[in-house]
Amino acid sequence: MVKVKIDGFEIEVEPGSTILQAARKIGGDIVPPAMCYYSSLKGSGGKCRTCLVKVAKSSEKDPRPMPKLVASCSTPVQDGMEVENITNPGVLEARKAVVEFLLINHPLDCPVCDQAGECKLQDLAFEHGSSLTRYEEERRTFDKIDIGPYIQLHMNRCILCYRCVYTADQLTDGRVHGVLNRGDAAEIGTYIENSIENDMSGNMIDVCPVGALTDKTFRFKSRVWFLNPMDAHRDCDCCSGKATVWMFGNEIYRVTARKDEYGEVAEFICNTCRFEKKDTADWVIEGPRHIERTSVISQNHYEKTAGDVPGTMQDN
Protein backbone atom coordinates (compact mmCIF):
# COMPACT_ATOMS: atom_id res chain seq x y z
CA MET A 1 0.00 0.00 0.00
CA VAL A 2 1.19 3.51 -0.79
CA LYS A 3 0.34 6.68 1.08
CA VAL A 4 -0.84 9.76 -0.83
CA LYS A 5 -2.02 13.12 0.37
CA ILE A 6 -4.65 14.93 -1.72
CA ASP A 7 -5.54 18.46 -0.64
CA GLY A 8 -4.40 17.57 2.86
CA PHE A 9 -6.39 14.34 3.12
CA GLU A 10 -4.21 11.28 3.52
CA ILE A 11 -5.20 7.87 2.18
CA GLU A 12 -3.58 4.52 1.55
CA VAL A 13 -4.22 2.97 -1.84
CA GLU A 14 -2.96 -0.02 -3.78
CA PRO A 15 0.20 0.60 -5.78
CA GLY A 16 -0.60 1.23 -9.41
CA SER A 17 -3.87 3.03 -8.86
CA THR A 18 -4.20 6.53 -10.22
CA ILE A 19 -4.52 9.86 -8.44
CA LEU A 20 -8.17 10.09 -9.54
CA GLN A 21 -8.97 6.68 -8.05
CA ALA A 22 -7.28 7.69 -4.79
CA ALA A 23 -9.27 10.96 -4.76
CA ARG A 24 -12.52 9.08 -5.35
CA LYS A 25 -11.66 6.88 -2.38
CA ILE A 26 -11.57 10.03 -0.24
CA GLY A 27 -14.62 11.48 -1.97
CA GLY A 28 -16.20 14.89 -1.60
CA ASP A 29 -15.21 18.16 -3.23
CA ILE A 30 -11.60 17.20 -3.82
CA VAL A 31 -12.44 14.63 -6.53
CA PRO A 32 -11.30 16.04 -9.87
CA PRO A 33 -14.04 16.10 -12.52
CA ALA A 34 -13.60 13.68 -15.41
CA MET A 35 -15.20 13.85 -18.83
CA CYS A 36 -13.41 11.01 -20.61
CA TYR A 37 -12.22 8.67 -17.84
CA TYR A 38 -14.64 5.83 -17.10
CA SER A 39 -13.59 3.41 -14.40
CA SER A 40 -15.13 0.32 -15.98
CA LEU A 41 -13.73 0.95 -19.47
CA LYS A 42 -10.13 -0.13 -19.91
CA GLY A 43 -7.92 2.43 -21.61
CA SER A 44 -10.26 5.38 -21.11
CA GLY A 45 -8.94 8.67 -19.80
CA GLY A 46 -6.20 11.13 -20.62
CA LYS A 47 -8.07 12.93 -23.38
CA CYS A 48 -10.25 15.69 -21.99
CA ARG A 49 -7.73 17.23 -19.53
CA THR A 50 -10.41 18.35 -17.06
CA CYS A 51 -8.91 16.25 -14.27
CA LEU A 52 -5.59 18.12 -14.26
CA VAL A 53 -3.99 18.38 -10.81
CA LYS A 54 -0.76 19.73 -9.38
CA VAL A 55 1.67 17.24 -7.89
CA ALA A 56 3.50 19.25 -5.23
CA LYS A 57 5.69 16.35 -4.17
CA SER A 58 6.37 13.43 -6.50
CA SER A 59 7.26 10.82 -3.90
CA GLU A 60 9.14 10.20 -0.70
CA LYS A 61 12.35 9.37 -2.61
CA ASP A 62 12.09 12.28 -5.04
CA PRO A 63 10.34 15.17 -3.28
CA ARG A 64 10.53 17.55 -6.25
CA PRO A 65 7.19 18.73 -7.62
CA MET A 66 6.17 17.59 -11.11
CA PRO A 67 7.00 20.36 -13.59
CA LYS A 68 3.58 20.56 -15.18
CA LEU A 69 -0.01 19.84 -14.21
CA VAL A 70 -0.76 16.15 -14.73
CA ALA A 71 -3.92 14.32 -15.74
CA SER A 72 -5.00 12.64 -12.52
CA CYS A 73 -6.89 9.86 -14.33
CA SER A 74 -3.74 8.46 -15.91
CA THR A 75 -0.99 9.31 -13.41
CA PRO A 76 -0.22 6.49 -10.99
CA VAL A 77 0.38 7.33 -7.37
CA GLN A 78 3.73 6.97 -5.66
CA ASP A 79 4.48 6.58 -1.99
CA GLY A 80 4.48 9.93 -0.20
CA MET A 81 2.98 11.83 -3.13
CA GLU A 82 1.29 15.11 -2.35
CA VAL A 83 -1.38 16.34 -4.73
CA GLU A 84 -3.14 19.70 -4.84
CA ASN A 85 -6.50 19.97 -6.54
CA ILE A 86 -8.95 22.59 -5.29
CA THR A 87 -6.39 24.08 -2.92
CA ASN A 88 -4.25 25.22 -5.83
CA PRO A 89 -5.58 28.29 -7.70
CA GLY A 90 -3.44 27.40 -10.72
CA VAL A 91 -5.28 24.10 -11.11
CA LEU A 92 -8.66 25.82 -10.99
CA GLU A 93 -7.50 28.37 -13.53
CA ALA A 94 -6.23 25.65 -15.86
CA ARG A 95 -9.49 23.77 -15.49
CA LYS A 96 -11.42 26.88 -16.40
CA ALA A 97 -9.30 27.16 -19.54
CA VAL A 98 -9.94 23.49 -20.37
CA VAL A 99 -13.68 24.06 -20.05
CA GLU A 100 -13.37 27.02 -22.37
CA PHE A 101 -11.56 24.80 -24.87
CA LEU A 102 -14.21 22.08 -24.63
CA LEU A 103 -16.92 24.66 -25.23
CA ILE A 104 -15.24 26.25 -28.25
CA ASN A 105 -16.94 23.92 -30.71
CA HIS A 106 -19.87 22.93 -28.55
CA PRO A 107 -23.07 24.27 -30.12
CA LEU A 108 -24.66 25.25 -26.76
CA ASP A 109 -28.05 24.05 -27.97
CA CYS A 110 -28.99 22.92 -24.46
CA PRO A 111 -32.62 24.06 -24.90
CA VAL A 112 -32.95 21.53 -27.73
CA CYS A 113 -30.64 18.82 -26.38
CA ASP A 114 -32.15 15.81 -24.60
CA GLN A 115 -29.10 15.50 -22.34
CA ALA A 116 -29.72 18.88 -20.69
CA GLY A 117 -30.13 18.43 -16.96
CA GLU A 118 -27.91 15.36 -16.76
CA CYS A 119 -25.08 16.60 -18.95
CA LYS A 120 -21.56 16.44 -17.50
CA LEU A 121 -20.36 19.30 -19.67
CA GLN A 122 -23.22 21.47 -18.40
CA ASP A 123 -22.24 20.71 -14.81
CA LEU A 124 -18.59 21.32 -15.53
CA ALA A 125 -19.22 24.63 -17.29
CA PHE A 126 -21.51 25.72 -14.48
CA GLU A 127 -18.93 24.93 -11.83
CA HIS A 128 -15.70 25.94 -13.50
CA GLY A 129 -16.39 27.85 -16.68
CA SER A 130 -17.28 31.45 -17.19
CA SER A 131 -20.66 32.46 -18.49
CA LEU A 132 -19.29 34.40 -21.45
CA THR A 133 -17.50 33.17 -24.55
CA ARG A 134 -14.47 34.80 -26.14
CA TYR A 135 -14.74 32.70 -29.29
CA GLU A 136 -15.90 34.64 -32.32
CA GLU A 137 -15.20 32.29 -35.20
CA GLU A 138 -17.71 29.90 -36.68
CA ARG A 139 -18.16 26.69 -34.74
CA ARG A 140 -17.28 23.32 -36.21
CA THR A 141 -20.32 21.61 -37.74
CA PHE A 142 -20.88 18.23 -39.30
CA ASP A 143 -23.46 16.76 -41.62
CA LYS A 144 -26.03 14.63 -39.88
CA ILE A 145 -25.59 10.90 -40.26
CA ASP A 146 -27.95 8.13 -39.32
CA ILE A 147 -26.29 5.44 -37.19
CA GLY A 148 -29.26 3.18 -36.60
CA PRO A 149 -32.82 3.00 -35.38
CA TYR A 150 -32.10 3.43 -31.66
CA ILE A 151 -29.25 5.87 -31.27
CA GLN A 152 -29.20 9.47 -32.44
CA LEU A 153 -25.79 10.94 -33.18
CA HIS A 154 -25.23 14.70 -32.90
CA MET A 155 -21.63 15.07 -33.91
CA ASN A 156 -21.68 18.83 -33.28
CA ARG A 157 -22.02 18.22 -29.56
CA CYS A 158 -19.26 15.60 -29.33
CA ILE A 159 -16.16 16.34 -27.24
CA LEU A 160 -14.26 13.29 -28.57
CA CYS A 161 -13.88 11.53 -25.23
CA TYR A 162 -13.71 8.10 -26.96
CA ARG A 163 -15.89 6.52 -24.26
CA CYS A 164 -18.39 5.16 -26.79
CA VAL A 165 -15.56 3.64 -28.82
CA TYR A 166 -14.22 1.80 -25.76
CA THR A 167 -17.75 0.70 -24.86
CA ALA A 168 -18.30 -0.78 -28.29
CA ASP A 169 -14.88 -2.46 -28.14
CA GLN A 170 -15.20 -3.95 -24.69
CA LEU A 171 -18.92 -4.69 -24.46
CA THR A 172 -19.85 -5.76 -27.95
CA ASP A 173 -18.21 -7.96 -30.53
CA GLY A 174 -17.47 -6.23 -33.76
CA ARG A 175 -17.42 -2.50 -33.35
CA VAL A 176 -18.83 -0.69 -36.37
CA HIS A 177 -18.19 2.91 -35.38
CA GLY A 178 -15.12 4.86 -34.48
CA VAL A 179 -13.37 8.18 -34.73
CA LEU A 180 -12.66 9.10 -38.33
CA ASN A 181 -10.27 11.76 -39.62
CA ARG A 182 -7.84 13.79 -37.54
CA GLY A 183 -7.56 16.97 -35.55
CA ASP A 184 -10.26 19.50 -36.14
CA ALA A 185 -12.06 17.19 -38.58
CA ALA A 186 -12.15 14.19 -36.23
CA GLU A 187 -15.64 12.82 -35.95
CA ILE A 188 -17.55 9.81 -34.68
CA GLY A 189 -18.89 7.85 -37.61
CA THR A 190 -19.58 4.47 -39.13
CA TYR A 191 -17.67 5.30 -42.33
CA ILE A 192 -19.93 3.46 -44.77
CA GLU A 193 -23.58 3.97 -43.81
CA ASN A 194 -23.49 1.27 -41.20
CA SER A 195 -26.06 0.90 -38.52
CA ILE A 196 -25.15 0.14 -34.91
CA GLU A 197 -27.33 -2.77 -33.93
CA ASN A 198 -25.41 -4.80 -31.36
CA ASP A 199 -27.52 -5.82 -28.39
CA MET A 200 -25.39 -3.88 -25.89
CA SER A 201 -24.86 -0.83 -28.10
CA GLY A 202 -27.42 1.26 -26.21
CA ASN A 203 -24.91 1.68 -23.39
CA MET A 204 -23.09 4.17 -25.60
CA ILE A 205 -25.89 6.58 -24.72
CA ASP A 206 -25.24 6.24 -21.01
CA VAL A 207 -21.47 6.59 -21.20
CA CYS A 208 -21.64 9.69 -23.42
CA PRO A 209 -20.92 12.65 -21.11
CA VAL A 210 -22.65 15.10 -23.47
CA GLY A 211 -25.66 14.90 -25.75
CA ALA A 212 -23.79 13.52 -28.75
CA LEU A 213 -25.40 10.10 -28.42
CA THR A 214 -29.01 10.15 -27.28
CA ASP A 215 -31.92 7.75 -27.16
CA LYS A 216 -33.96 7.93 -30.38
CA THR A 217 -37.00 6.38 -28.71
CA PHE A 218 -36.95 9.22 -26.15
CA ARG A 219 -36.06 11.99 -28.58
CA PHE A 220 -37.85 15.23 -27.63
CA LYS A 221 -40.43 13.26 -25.61
CA SER A 222 -39.88 15.17 -22.40
CA ARG A 223 -37.19 16.89 -20.39
CA VAL A 224 -35.41 14.84 -17.75
CA TRP A 225 -36.48 17.12 -14.89
CA PHE A 226 -40.16 16.47 -15.59
CA LEU A 227 -39.65 12.74 -15.21
CA ASN A 228 -39.42 10.65 -12.09
CA PRO A 229 -36.47 8.24 -11.98
CA MET A 230 -37.38 4.94 -10.32
CA ASP A 231 -35.24 1.88 -9.67
CA ALA A 232 -36.75 -1.13 -11.39
CA HIS A 233 -35.75 -4.60 -12.46
CA ARG A 234 -36.98 -7.37 -14.73
CA ASP A 235 -35.86 -10.85 -15.68
CA CYS A 236 -33.62 -10.57 -18.68
CA ASP A 237 -31.62 -13.29 -20.43
CA CYS A 238 -28.79 -11.11 -21.63
CA CYS A 239 -28.23 -8.56 -18.87
CA SER A 240 -28.78 -8.08 -15.14
CA GLY A 241 -32.13 -6.43 -15.81
CA LYS A 242 -31.43 -3.78 -13.18
CA ALA A 243 -32.25 -0.37 -14.57
CA THR A 244 -33.68 3.06 -13.86
CA VAL A 245 -37.03 3.77 -15.45
CA TRP A 246 -37.96 7.41 -16.01
CA MET A 247 -41.67 7.82 -15.44
CA PHE A 248 -44.24 10.49 -16.07
CA GLY A 249 -47.29 9.53 -14.10
CA ASN A 250 -47.72 5.82 -14.76
CA GLU A 251 -45.99 5.87 -18.12
CA ILE A 252 -42.39 4.85 -18.70
CA TYR A 253 -40.75 7.38 -21.00
CA ARG A 254 -37.28 5.90 -21.09
CA VAL A 255 -35.03 3.32 -19.50
CA THR A 256 -31.39 3.87 -18.56
CA ALA A 257 -28.80 1.94 -16.61
CA ARG A 258 -28.24 2.89 -12.98
CA LYS A 259 -25.54 5.49 -12.59
CA ASP A 260 -23.38 6.12 -9.53
CA GLU A 261 -22.37 9.47 -8.07
CA TYR A 262 -19.75 10.00 -10.80
CA GLY A 263 -22.29 9.28 -13.53
CA GLU A 264 -20.80 5.87 -14.24
CA VAL A 265 -22.82 2.79 -14.99
CA ALA A 266 -22.20 -0.16 -12.69
CA GLU A 267 -24.19 -2.75 -14.62
CA PHE A 268 -24.70 -2.30 -18.33
CA ILE A 269 -28.13 -3.20 -19.69
CA CYS A 270 -29.14 -4.66 -23.02
CA ASN A 271 -31.04 -2.96 -25.83
CA THR A 272 -34.20 -5.01 -25.24
CA CYS A 273 -34.50 -3.63 -21.71
CA ARG A 274 -33.55 -0.14 -22.78
CA PHE A 275 -35.59 0.40 -25.92
CA GLU A 276 -38.37 -2.14 -26.05
CA LYS A 277 -39.68 -2.56 -22.53
CA LYS A 278 -41.59 0.64 -21.98
CA ASP A 279 -44.68 -0.87 -20.46
CA THR A 280 -45.10 -0.59 -16.68
CA ALA A 281 -46.10 -4.27 -16.61
CA ASP A 282 -42.64 -5.27 -17.86
CA TRP A 283 -40.88 -3.92 -14.77
CA VAL A 284 -40.92 -4.50 -11.03
CA ILE A 285 -40.57 -1.02 -9.61
CA GLU A 286 -38.51 -0.90 -6.44
CA GLY A 287 -38.82 2.75 -5.52
CA PRO A 288 -37.53 6.23 -6.26
CA ARG A 289 -33.88 6.53 -7.20
CA HIS A 290 -31.66 8.76 -5.08
CA ILE A 291 -31.03 12.07 -6.82
CA GLU A 292 -28.72 14.75 -5.43
CA ARG A 293 -30.54 17.81 -4.14
CA THR A 294 -28.28 19.98 -6.31
CA SER A 295 -29.57 18.36 -9.49
CA VAL A 296 -32.45 19.84 -11.44
CA ILE A 297 -33.87 16.30 -11.65
CA SER A 298 -34.68 16.48 -7.93
CA GLN A 299 -37.50 18.89 -8.84
CA ASN A 300 -40.74 17.31 -7.63
CA HIS A 301 -38.81 14.12 -6.87
CA TYR A 302 -39.69 12.64 -3.51
CA GLU A 303 -37.64 9.76 -2.21
CA LYS A 304 -39.83 8.96 0.75
CA THR A 305 -43.46 8.01 0.74
CA ALA A 306 -45.79 9.90 3.00
CA GLY A 307 -45.71 7.13 5.59
CA ASP A 308 -41.93 7.36 5.98
CA VAL A 309 -41.97 10.98 7.08
CA PRO A 310 -43.06 11.36 10.69
CA GLY A 311 -46.22 13.32 11.17
CA THR A 312 -47.57 12.94 7.64
CA MET A 313 -49.51 9.75 8.19
CA GLN A 314 -50.72 7.91 11.19
CA ASP A 315 -48.18 5.33 12.30
CA ASN A 316 -49.55 1.85 12.24
Binding site: P111, V112, F220, S222, R223, W225, F226
Partner: protein, 178 residues
Amino acid sequence: MQSLTNRSKLVVNKKMTFWERIYLPAIFGGMRITLRHFFKKNKTVNYPEVKRPFSPVYRGMHVLKRDENGAERCTACGLCAVACPAEAISMVAAERKPDQAHLYREEKYAATYEINMLRCIFCGLCEEACPKEAIFLTDRIVPASLEREEFIYGKEKLVEPVDQRIDISLRQIKSYPQ
Protein backbone atom coordinates in the same frame (compact mmCIF):
# COMPACT_ATOMS: atom_id res chain seq x y z
CA MET B 1 -51.01 47.92 33.75
CA GLN B 2 -48.61 49.89 31.57
CA SER B 3 -49.93 50.10 28.02
CA LEU B 4 -47.62 49.09 25.22
CA THR B 5 -48.35 51.95 22.86
CA ASN B 6 -49.90 54.65 25.06
CA ARG B 7 -52.63 55.00 22.45
CA SER B 8 -55.36 53.05 24.22
CA LYS B 9 -58.45 54.99 25.20
CA LEU B 10 -60.65 54.34 28.10
CA VAL B 11 -64.23 53.60 26.97
CA VAL B 12 -66.75 55.87 28.58
CA ASN B 13 -70.46 55.74 28.01
CA LYS B 14 -70.86 59.52 27.78
CA LYS B 15 -74.34 60.93 27.72
CA MET B 16 -75.05 62.76 24.41
CA THR B 17 -75.99 66.41 24.37
CA PHE B 18 -79.26 67.64 22.80
CA TRP B 19 -77.63 68.58 19.45
CA GLU B 20 -75.96 65.24 19.18
CA ARG B 21 -79.19 63.42 20.00
CA ILE B 22 -81.23 64.97 17.16
CA TYR B 23 -78.62 63.56 14.61
CA LEU B 24 -79.54 66.08 11.90
CA PRO B 25 -76.34 68.21 12.14
CA ALA B 26 -74.23 65.09 11.70
CA ILE B 27 -76.33 63.92 8.74
CA PHE B 28 -76.12 67.29 6.99
CA GLY B 29 -72.40 67.35 7.64
CA GLY B 30 -72.07 64.03 5.83
CA MET B 31 -74.31 65.16 2.96
CA ARG B 32 -72.08 68.21 2.49
CA ILE B 33 -69.05 66.02 1.94
CA THR B 34 -70.98 63.81 -0.53
CA LEU B 35 -72.24 66.85 -2.44
CA ARG B 36 -68.74 68.28 -2.71
CA HIS B 37 -67.61 65.09 -4.47
CA PHE B 38 -70.28 65.54 -7.17
CA PHE B 39 -68.34 68.51 -8.54
CA LYS B 40 -64.89 66.99 -8.32
CA LYS B 41 -63.03 65.30 -11.20
CA ASN B 42 -63.66 61.55 -11.51
CA LYS B 43 -60.89 59.26 -10.27
CA THR B 44 -62.13 56.28 -12.33
CA VAL B 45 -62.15 55.67 -16.09
CA ASN B 46 -64.68 53.79 -18.23
CA TYR B 47 -62.43 50.77 -18.73
CA PRO B 48 -62.98 49.16 -22.10
CA GLU B 49 -63.33 52.53 -23.88
CA VAL B 50 -60.68 54.40 -21.89
CA LYS B 51 -57.46 52.69 -20.86
CA ARG B 52 -54.87 53.89 -18.41
CA PRO B 53 -51.28 53.93 -19.61
CA PHE B 54 -49.39 50.96 -18.15
CA SER B 55 -45.87 50.90 -16.85
CA PRO B 56 -43.51 49.29 -19.37
CA VAL B 57 -42.70 46.63 -16.79
CA TYR B 58 -46.34 45.75 -16.17
CA ARG B 59 -46.74 41.97 -16.21
CA GLY B 60 -49.93 40.93 -17.96
CA MET B 61 -50.87 38.29 -20.50
CA HIS B 62 -48.01 36.32 -22.06
CA VAL B 63 -46.96 36.34 -25.67
CA LEU B 64 -44.88 33.76 -27.53
CA LYS B 65 -42.74 35.77 -29.90
CA ARG B 66 -41.75 34.96 -33.46
CA ASP B 67 -38.35 35.90 -34.87
CA GLU B 68 -37.77 38.41 -37.66
CA ASN B 69 -38.61 35.77 -40.30
CA GLY B 70 -41.88 34.84 -38.65
CA ALA B 71 -40.69 31.54 -37.20
CA GLU B 72 -41.65 30.64 -33.65
CA ARG B 73 -38.83 31.18 -31.22
CA CYS B 74 -40.00 28.72 -28.57
CA THR B 75 -38.09 25.44 -28.63
CA ALA B 76 -39.98 23.70 -25.80
CA CYS B 77 -36.93 23.50 -23.56
CA GLY B 78 -39.13 23.41 -20.47
CA LEU B 79 -37.18 26.00 -18.50
CA CYS B 80 -40.23 28.25 -18.11
CA ALA B 81 -42.24 25.32 -16.78
CA VAL B 82 -39.54 24.37 -14.30
CA ALA B 83 -39.14 27.98 -13.19
CA CYS B 84 -42.88 28.52 -12.79
CA PRO B 85 -43.71 28.62 -9.06
CA ALA B 86 -47.41 28.08 -9.75
CA GLU B 87 -46.85 25.16 -12.15
CA ALA B 88 -49.09 26.85 -14.68
CA ILE B 89 -47.12 25.97 -17.81
CA SER B 90 -47.14 22.67 -19.66
CA MET B 91 -45.90 21.73 -23.09
CA VAL B 92 -45.34 18.89 -25.49
CA ALA B 93 -42.34 19.03 -27.79
CA ALA B 94 -42.10 17.75 -31.33
CA GLU B 95 -39.43 17.49 -33.99
CA ARG B 96 -39.50 19.90 -36.89
CA LYS B 97 -40.00 18.41 -40.35
CA PRO B 98 -37.60 19.55 -43.09
CA ASP B 99 -40.32 21.63 -44.79
CA GLN B 100 -41.24 23.47 -41.59
CA ALA B 101 -38.07 25.53 -41.26
CA HIS B 102 -39.99 28.74 -41.89
CA LEU B 103 -42.44 27.95 -39.06
CA TYR B 104 -40.08 27.05 -36.25
CA ARG B 105 -36.67 28.45 -35.58
CA GLU B 106 -35.09 25.39 -33.96
CA GLU B 107 -35.02 21.67 -34.64
CA LYS B 108 -37.45 21.12 -31.80
CA TYR B 109 -40.64 23.09 -31.26
CA ALA B 110 -43.60 23.17 -28.92
CA ALA B 111 -46.44 21.16 -30.45
CA THR B 112 -48.69 22.29 -27.62
CA TYR B 113 -47.95 25.02 -25.13
CA GLU B 114 -50.47 25.80 -22.45
CA ILE B 115 -50.60 28.34 -19.66
CA ASN B 116 -53.32 28.04 -17.07
CA MET B 117 -54.13 31.69 -16.45
CA LEU B 118 -56.01 30.82 -13.26
CA ARG B 119 -52.85 29.33 -11.79
CA CYS B 120 -50.48 31.97 -13.19
CA ILE B 121 -49.39 34.59 -10.66
CA PHE B 122 -47.77 36.85 -13.30
CA CYS B 123 -44.41 36.81 -11.54
CA GLY B 124 -42.43 36.90 -14.80
CA LEU B 125 -40.04 34.09 -13.88
CA CYS B 126 -40.85 32.32 -17.17
CA GLU B 127 -39.71 35.39 -19.06
CA GLU B 128 -36.52 35.47 -17.02
CA ALA B 129 -35.84 31.75 -17.51
CA CYS B 130 -36.41 31.72 -21.27
CA PRO B 131 -33.08 31.19 -23.08
CA LYS B 132 -34.59 31.90 -26.49
CA GLU B 133 -36.32 35.22 -25.76
CA ALA B 134 -39.56 33.57 -26.75
CA ILE B 135 -41.96 34.28 -23.90
CA PHE B 136 -42.71 37.76 -22.64
CA LEU B 137 -45.34 39.21 -20.37
CA THR B 138 -47.15 42.12 -22.00
CA ASP B 139 -49.38 44.98 -20.89
CA ARG B 140 -52.48 43.13 -22.11
CA ILE B 141 -54.99 41.97 -19.56
CA VAL B 142 -56.31 38.42 -19.42
CA PRO B 143 -60.03 38.87 -20.09
CA ALA B 144 -62.58 37.59 -17.61
CA SER B 145 -64.68 34.57 -18.44
CA LEU B 146 -67.38 32.43 -16.93
CA GLU B 147 -65.82 29.10 -17.91
CA ARG B 148 -62.70 27.72 -16.25
CA GLU B 149 -61.65 25.95 -19.47
CA GLU B 150 -61.33 29.25 -21.26
CA PHE B 151 -58.48 30.26 -18.98
CA ILE B 152 -56.21 27.51 -20.31
CA TYR B 153 -54.46 29.43 -23.04
CA GLY B 154 -53.00 27.37 -25.84
CA LYS B 155 -50.71 28.36 -28.66
CA GLU B 156 -53.56 29.89 -30.66
CA LYS B 157 -53.94 32.59 -27.99
CA LEU B 158 -50.29 32.94 -26.94
CA VAL B 159 -48.30 33.00 -30.20
CA GLU B 160 -48.31 36.44 -31.78
CA PRO B 161 -49.88 36.60 -35.26
CA VAL B 162 -47.34 37.14 -38.05
CA ASP B 163 -49.08 40.28 -39.28
CA GLN B 164 -49.86 41.74 -35.84
CA ARG B 165 -46.61 41.72 -33.95
CA ILE B 166 -46.73 42.57 -30.28
CA ASP B 167 -44.19 45.18 -29.31
CA ILE B 168 -42.14 44.21 -26.28
CA SER B 169 -39.16 46.46 -26.98
CA LEU B 170 -39.78 48.60 -23.88
CA ARG B 171 -39.47 45.52 -21.69
CA GLN B 172 -36.08 44.66 -23.10
CA ILE B 173 -34.37 47.86 -22.02
CA LYS B 174 -31.96 46.73 -19.39
CA SER B 175 -31.03 49.35 -16.84
CA TYR B 176 -28.26 47.43 -15.17
CA PRO B 177 -24.69 48.12 -16.31
CA GLN B 178 -23.04 45.63 -18.65
